[in-house]
């Protein structure tokens, strides 16, 4: 068997030979009949479950559809909520409004990411020196998690400009600030929960390598913690995406407001449905992206394995 191994190598220590391939890899392995049978069975099995899922989905969809179409008011509802012509006419203005939403969402996300990270970091500081700061951030998160977003929007959007010290800015700017205030409180708590879920032995390991408290947080605890809470963060993101629609109460012409205008003109609710669908479409890529990303991270870091 040793005949296939390369020219005599100097003796190495035992652990060093793990990676090297020698001995029996002369010919690539031909799968046996058993392995092929097993592979075939597994394929059949998964094909069957896909089929079952498909059939049951179609059956449920058809039942729901028939049930709805046969309700007495369906014709009227179809006309006033799902009218294709109105939808098409409302689309440009609603899309334009949605662009405002996207801008607000973009800046609010960045703001939330920064503020929430700061808040979570402050709350994780252990030293008594930081007590006042820690106390303040705790008070902040408690306050803003409790306040309804709508009320914060009113207070910030109408209250602050009324002070008369700030230059006039569009309503969506105040909307963005209000969203950042609310959502960074939520997200900070999620991040903190993630950091606390990282096993304490990880902190020990990092500190014993000589990393500072800050480095430990940044390089070891945070990356692991954020993985644990990605679904929760995602949830907050999608939730914020919807709440961006609330800035219409400040008079900003976003998708909801544009739809509202259209509804007032046409006496037909279809524009709301259009706006709703656009919001769903908006959130969809992000949801898929996170799913893909977490799956990839899991594949890379965790042992393969069947469980």
């Amino acid at each position: 068997m040793t005949s296939t191994s390369p020219a005599p190598t100097p003796p190495t220590d035992v652990s060093a030979e793990s990676g090297r391939v020698s001995t029996a890899d002369a010919a690539p392995h031909q799968p046996s009949q058993v392995a092929l049978d097993r592979a075939r069975f597994r394929k059949k099995q998964s094909a069957r479950s896909v089929l079952i899922a498909l059939v049951s989905t179609v059956v449920v969809a058809v039942i729901v559809w028939i049930a709805i179409v046969n309700t007495p008011g369906w014709a009227l509802v179809q006309q006033s909520f799902f009218d294709p012509k109105t939808a098409w006419e409302a689309l440009p203005s609603v899309l334009l409004g949605l662009w405002t939403n996207i801008q607000v969402l973009f800046f609010a996300s960045i703001g939330v990411a920064i503020v929430a990270t700061l808040l979570a970091t402050v709350r994780s500081l252990r030293s008594p020196v930081w007590f006042p700061l820690r106390f303040l951030t705790t008070a902040y998160t408690d306050l803003f998690r409790g306040l309804p977003v709508l009320i914060v929007l009113y207070l910030v959007g109408f209250g602050i400009p009324a002070l008369g010290v700030f230059p006039r800015v569009p309503a969506q700017v105040w909307g963005t600030i209000a969203l950042v205030l609310c959502y960074s409180a939520y997200v900070a708590e999620v991040l903190r929960a993630g950091m606390e879920a990282v096993h304490p032995s990880q902190r020990y390991a990092a500190r014993s390598l000589g990393l500072t408290h800050g480095q430990t947080l940044r390089l070891v605890v945070f990356p692991q913690g954020i993985r644990k809470v990605t679904p929760a963060l995602m949830n907050d993101f999608v939730s914020m995406q919807k709440d961006v629609g609330l800035i219409s109460v400040l008079g900003a012409v976003d998708a909801v407001r544009a739809a509202q205008i259209n509804v007032a003109e046409t006496y037909n609710f279809t524009a709301y449905v259009v706006a709703g669908l656009l919001f769903v479409l908006l959130s969809w890529p992000m949801i898929r992206l996170t799913d893909w990303y977490t799956a990839r991270a899991q594949r890379r870091e965790q042992t393969g394995g069947a469980v």
């Binding site: 068997m1 040793t2 003796p11 220590d13 035992v14 652990s15 030979e17 793990s18 990676g19 090297r20 391939v21 020698s22 001995t23 029996a24 890899d25 392995h29 799968p31 046996s32 058993v34 392995a35 097993r38 069975f41 597994r42 099995q45 096993h199 304490p200 032995s201 393969g304 394995g305 069947a306 469980v307």
Partner: protein, 252 residues
């Protein structure tokens, strides 16, 4: 199963292949483990010992070959994996105790939730076993409060609490001091006399020599040599075994 078929090996591997992507880790492993036998896997780091144990426990899906537990092909996709795993006890290389459960709950979990044993009986068994290895005073402690060796012993007790047909032990003595190695060895010998069958991976040749009925030398996923400890350690047939042992002795 009954004693009538005790002629069949408890565990039998036939031509087992396992690859992680490009890296083929097991290359056609054939191994028979008979009842009451202690089989010890030796080999360099990365030679596939842990992987072999994981394939037996169905934690890794094999790419080819078959694995039989008491004559039943457990590599068949139709078998109930959970039921199969419930018949096998495992102590992992990293102990993998559940940090949110006390020592007692770690040990009684499978008996209560998988084997449907009443709580007091499960606890009686756990207390008895933990007492035997000197951990009677740690019942209510959480794993992270225990020393490495203590965690190791709890992990062993957790694996044997349900009297599995087959025990897979991955380097169970790696975190222990010499005296505890002796105690674990006694534990293993005791388990053997009560009918357990074991496969264990270890780097400790003296432990392997004392505990094993059969020593198996693995190199790059190939089962190079197997035999009773006297033969493999004192008079190895294969040059690769000799080379490995020489290196181990040179270091140790």
């Amino acid at each position: 199963m009954s004693d009538t078929d005790s002629g069949a090996p408890v565990l039998s591997m036939r031509g087992v292949y396992k690859a992680f992507g490009e890296n083929t880790v097991l290359r056609g492993v054939d191994l028979d483990v008979h009842r009451h036998q202690v089989v010890v896997l030796i080999g360099a780091s990365g030679s596939g010992k842990s992987t072999l144990l994981k394939t037996v426990n169905l934690l890794e899906q094999i790419d080819d070959g078959q694995i039989f537990l008491r004559g039943q092909d457990i590599s068949d996709p139709r078998v109930d994996v959970d039921a199969t795993r419930a018949r096998i006890g495992v102590v992992f290389q990293q102990f993998n105790l559940f940090p949110h459960l006390t020592v007692l709950d770690n040990v009684t979990l499978a008996n209560r939730r998988v084997h449907g044993m009443p709580k007091d009986e499960a606890e009686r068994i756990a207390v008895e076993l933990l007492g035997r290895i000197g951990l009677a005073d740690k019942l209510r402690s959480y794993p992270d409060r225990l020393s490495g060796g203590q965690q190791q012993r709890v992990a062993i007790v957790r694996a044997i609490a349900s009297s599995p047909e087959l025990l897979l032990l991955d380097e169970i003595t790696s975190a222990l001091d010499p005296q505890l190695v002796g105690e674990v060895l006694d534990l293993v010998a005791g388990l053997k006399s009560t009918g357990s069958t074991m496969v264990m991976a270890t780097h400790e040749m003296s432990f392997a020599r004392r505990a094993a009925d059969l020593v198996v030398f693995l190199k790059n996923g190939v089962l190079v040599e197997q035999g009773p400890p006297e033969q493999v350690f004192d008079d190895p047939e294969h040059p690769e075994t000799r080379e490995f042992l020489a290196r181990v002795h040179a270091v140790g």
